[in-house]
Amino acid sequence: MSAAAAREPLPVGLGRARWAPAAASVCGLLVLAATVEIVLDGAVEHSALIPKQPAIAGWLSGIGERLGYRVFLIALLVAVGAYAGVLWLVSRMGEGAMSKRFAIALIAVLHAVLFVGPVLISTDVFSYIAYARMGVEHGLNPYLHGPSAIPHDEVFRYVGHDWRRTPTAYGPLYTLLSYPLAPLGLRGALWAMKLEALLASIGTLVLVWRCALARGFEPMFALVAVALNPLYLIYGLGGSHNDLLMMLAMMGAVALMLAPRPTGRREAGAAAVIVAGALIKATVAVLLPFMVLARRRVAPVLGALAAIVAGALIAYAAFGSHGVDVVSALNRDAAFVSTDSFANEIAHLFGKPGVFPIDHDLLKVALVLIVAHLLWRTWRGYDWIAASGWSLLAISVTSTWLLAWYILWPLPLAVVSRDRRLLVATLAIQGLFVVHQISPLLVPVK
């Protein structure tokens, strides 16, 4: 069965199933209930899962109880199960399982709940604010200093301990975009960051819908596959990560390339948008060679070059040579090891205490081979969107520093790609990530 055909709604068997819309609605509401539970409990006080933060969700704090691992993991597993149910039903019946109106209302409520709630899981958003305040309020270059250079600033106490001495690894465009938020104060900047993540998410979802339509896929399936994804909601949107902004740029470029009448200007624009995305978070740059190979025209190359030159000049003017040197920041971060990384898990499987420098080198070689294979496949007609998605998935799987929001990167591409295996693989990797979280549920430490 071809990928496109496999993605079409298959009414046979479920076509007359009257229970299917009700079941899909229940599953969607379960995702909402799990999210509400995490947000309400997270609003009570900081726990190991909720970073220390200004009491922006204090008015919600009287409803729930302090969020512990047990409740969090049960809610996460419920959301994952319900998400799987929605996906299955919508993949079979399309809008017959869940109406467009209901899906949009559900997604809007989920976004609103996460917007008004506390920052979940990660301290990254406070690093974003700290780097902005360093540049605007303290006259420091965030590419040279970590937040420890501003210990008396009110944001400093909220920055993650591991990141206090670390200069920013984010792109200069993102740093400049965050600068206007610095004078808003800590709470104002935090709300602005949450709003930015919310708008980026909505924009990404709109583009996912449009791209699915452009490719002739069932847009409802593409929409719910991204918007109801528990990792997307709880980790990505809940943590107000700038990965959402990067994904917005990524899907903007894809939408331009899938436009009904491709023109040189559109293709150049798409390449420039990819470069802009890479100036937010460098990872998305991996799409560029696939886009160029698929089109084999000059326009995307020129568009990318123009954007690179403009971006480099702006970055140099704003931050000096350190603002341009994205590679060294990536190399620094690539040396980190997280407990959730597959490299670390495989090291444990083979009896090693962790990842060694040689393992980093082997993983880099593996990633280069995978990307080279995908480039060759794209040259020979393979879907460039799928190849880009596989590359992003390979980057996250081979990374020794794997975080939940990294395995979101390929998801919007997977739902509009012609290779169904990419979606299956992305969801399988996400499933393994969730499974890896459950040990506190099996043996709780008190």
Partner: protein, 167 residues
Amino acid sequence: MSARAGDTASPSRPEPWAWLPTRLRPREQQDHERQGRLWRVETAVLAIVFVLLATATVNDVVRQSHINERLIADLRSWRTYTHHDYKNVGVDVLTMGVTTKRDVVCGNTEPGPPNARTQICLVVTGPTVSGRRTVSGGWYLRPYTTDDVFAVRYGCFGSVTMGRCPR
């Protein structure tokens, strides 16, 4: 269902890659993924990689569960040794080496916010017996010490330290 127009490059433009051998020439973007031999090989490799990752994940969950059981015994040992039933007691499995299974358990010596009082750190070793492990030594840390390193330890005691604070 086929892709819409514009998704693929125009087939009518002149072929600039005709000088390449046929097998190396580029192809236009395909509307459907061909499920030939290469597709089957790729799928098999993906399945093998998934089995490896799934095995590693399950192995790590089991490993982490065993560590959690050890941590529970560590905390119980600290509370028994100090006669304090405090909630905020931290266990560090790294200081004495990951593979040694000698953990360092630190907590306040008197009631107060976490880390706001003088800390007593115990080195806990050996197998779990009756839900507890052996306290082989330890040291003290001043209030608000964030990094438990050699330079900030004092009052070291027990066989594991030999009266000297371990590096």
